[in-house]
Amino acid sequence: MILHTLNTSPSSPAFADCIRLLRKGDALLLLGDGVYAAIKGTRACIELNNSGAELYLLQPDTAAAGLQNRIDDTLTPVDYEGFVALTERFPKQQAWY
């Protein structure tokens, strides 16, 4: 129902607050420093998977961070048109930063 966007790293208060409110039926887009939560096997990544939400990753930011071969395959990379497509499906956005 809600599109959450997160652009700070897993050690940030924003990550903790986001996890608390992320629900099945929501989507989460990681961008900026948020992409570090997609590193496979990390506690952050496990927490994201446990939320039941759809998980997405902004591709240019993932490449900038050097994470192309390190991300968990439960996350779907999207480009900017994919980002807009998410906002078409989810009428409301909560930005965590």
Partner: protein, 130 residues
């Protein structure tokens, strides 16, 4: 659909401002309309005409200006955020007796009412912060 954007991210720190711009470009590419882009708090620095960018980095002010001119999109800087950060158009510069106008002409300075108005008129309101 009609979109409005709220941009809080500074163009000088982090990627938020350019991210918002690239999102706005993709909104147009997907055949939606943009009602308004409202810059607030640190986001207002996107309108700083005196900003000098390193040659190998984005000139964010110019990128926003080019986008707005090409697609006829309204870029609004919140007046109280802008004044605090030394962003004045010629009217404000004269009023406050400051030496120069420092806002790029592609941007307009206005109040929070423009954000509220945009939210009422829009199907989607997307915030970019941090």
């Amino acid at each position: 659909m009609i979109y409005s954007l709220l941009v809080l991210s500074s163009p000088c720190s982090g990627q938020g401002s350019v991210t918002a711009l690239r999102f706005a470009q993709a909104v147009i590419e997907r055949d939606h309309q943009i009602q308004r882009i409202f810059f607030l708090d640190e986001g207002t620095l996107a309108g700083a005409s005196s900003m000098v960018s390193p040659q190998d980095e984005n000139d964010t002010v110019q990128l926003w200006a080019n986008f707005a001119i090409k697609h006829k999109v309204e870029l609004i800087l919140c007046v109280s955020s802008a004044l605090k950060r030394g962003l004045l158009d010629s009217g404000e510069a004269e009023r406050y007796e400051k030496t120069a106008a420092t806002v790029h002409p592609a941007f307009e300075i206005s109040g929070l009412g423009q954000l509220i108005d945009a939210s009422v008129a829009s199907d989607r309101l997307i915030t970019f912060g941090g």
